[in-house]
Symmetry: C2
Subunit: 317 residues, 2 copies
């Protein structure tokens, strides 16, 4: 019998890059989800098939290809089994994700979280969310090197969180039914790790200029958390716009990203900014529900991939 | 016999808006100049004719139209005469300026400074530069309400300066023969006073977010002054780019300005940013001389008014 689990992708509303240096950041879960279907199989292999990547791979004790793009998923599955004290058994894991990969939307973390969820369902067992998030974090380390931990956290818990590396996270209490988030693709690919290193190099070079920017970003996240809890989305949008300027200052914007950001703002978004590492990837725009169609239509004219999302309170299910 | 004097326009390389709250800023004089020709006349009126505005106006003791756009020039002329202890005599003042007005290039200050220069030449008298700049500042108060004082200073002294409201200015020692500055028009008009007020409102609303940005801008100006004195123009360009991000953060950028900035950077500029109040007006790009033609050509495709300038050491002459 096969079972299914899913976990959400995310967008960072405030604080990417600054979170790396232990400033707080704000992330939201969106209603684009990674779905994982799994079942036990008779052999002792773990088969992983990603419909999105069109890749299938087998892993077994003697045959672990750590260079496979599916290895982090295998790793998450194995770690989940270990936590449950389950001897390695054969598994078939099928991944079907609505979250665009390499887009700063936490696709890899969501797949790991959903994989763990599916394994729990197979064996009718439970792990607390803290443990699930921790296992997914380890898989993220394989994908990203030194992840902040924000992706696995938001994908596990859903909703919106304020997150700080040294202190963990707090789930924010709010109601997002009046707003939509729109994600638009710059269609420029980039390497997150390289961008993080580039920013840190610049921070090192201009310490006295960058340090205050990081403090400013930290206050932005704190103000944004309050705005979310007060459901003051106009204020949240304004804070996103300020944050975008800081991302421009640290050198991760470009002409296309600016075009997307200003098209969104000019057409009724409450705020719009780069989301994720920048240099390419997506922008996120926050809109009142009544205005989102205008923003969507305008963005569609300048981007081939535009997602209209709800902020979803559902984490792993 | 008529005499002529001239004074340069300016561009702010670092620190507009932040200078209002007493952070240091960097300005340069450019080789676009306001030219004033003047001579004594037989009557007791002061005639001012602006070729650029196509406006002519008479001022006399009993007939002072303070609403005339030429009134600040009359005021500068009168103050200069007063400083020289010259009884009001008749004057004809003809203004012919290469500096585009309302462009953040210090056109009004340059006209005032050149007017004072022409009056000094008529009477073969001298005033020190401090005094000239001070008179021009008073005329600027009529034009701008609460000017920072940066425009009259750079127009009087030329070259490049680091300026701080509470401390005055320091002329920087450098050699700009390897670089050009390119100014490109967004062709969007805006009101400087309104933009300054908008920024200060936002600063007031988000004090803990904005205060560090202002500190950051202050350090930018100090680093930029060092870069100028070391003739490290790559560093100066990088600092201009960071500054542009701060201007985006405080809400004075827009889609057209971003387009101009990134077109300049993508085509070889060392740095590019909004110059002046933003919301419209011009961007400034710094280029090595060997690269400026590329930048110029690319900007010409997206702007109808592009000026290639040298940084000019000549102030009032």
């Amino acid at each position: 019998m096969s079972v299914s689990a899913s976990a959400p992708g995310k967008a960072i509303l405030i604080g990417e890059h600054f979170v790396v240096e232990n400033q707080p950041a704000i992330a939201i879960a969106i209603n684009l989800r990674a779905h994982v279907t799994a079942r036990e199989s008779k052999n002792d292999k773990i088969l992983i098939f990603s419909k999105n990547l069109g890749i299938k791979d087998y892993f077994s004790e003697g045959n672990i290809n750590i260079k496979s793009p599916l290895y982090p998923i295998y790793y998450a599955a194995k770690e989940a089994l270990k936590s449950l004290n389950i001897e390695t058994s054969g598994l078939e894991i099928i991944i079907d994700s609505e979250i665009p990969p390499s887009a700063g939307m936490g696709s890899s973390a969501a797949v790991s979280v959903a994989t763990i969820g599916a394994i729990l369902k197979i064996y009718r067992r439970e792990l607390n969310k803290e443990k699930i998030s921790k296992i997914a974090y380890k898989a993220e380390e394989i994908v990203h090197g030194k992840p902040s931990g924000i992706d696995n956290t938001i994908s596990t818990y859903g909703g919106s969180i304020i997150f700080r590396k040294s202190e963990g996270f707090l789930k924010l209490i709010s109601n997002f039914s009046d707003v939509k988030v729109i994600l638009a693709d710059s269609e420029i690919s980039r390497n997150t790790g390289n961008l993080v290193r580039k920013v840190l190099r610049l921070k090192n070079k201009y310490e006295r200029i960058f340090d205050p920017l990081y403090y400013s970003a930290g206050h932005l996240a704190i103000e944004a958390a309050k705005a979310i809890e007060n459901m003051d989305f106009e204020r949240l949008g304004e804070l996103m716009n300020i944050n975008h300027g800081l991302l421009s200052a640290i050198g991760v914007s470009n002409r296309k990203l600016e075009e997307l950001v200003y098209v969104a703002r000019e057409n009724g978004a409450l705020g719009a900014k780069i989301t994720g590492a920048g240099g390419g990837g997506f922008i996120v725009a926050l809109c009142y529900k009544k205005d989102y169609e205008n923003v969507f239509k305008a963005l569609k004219k300048v981007s081939n991939r535009v997602f209209v999302c709800d902020i979803s309170d559902k984490g792993i299910i």
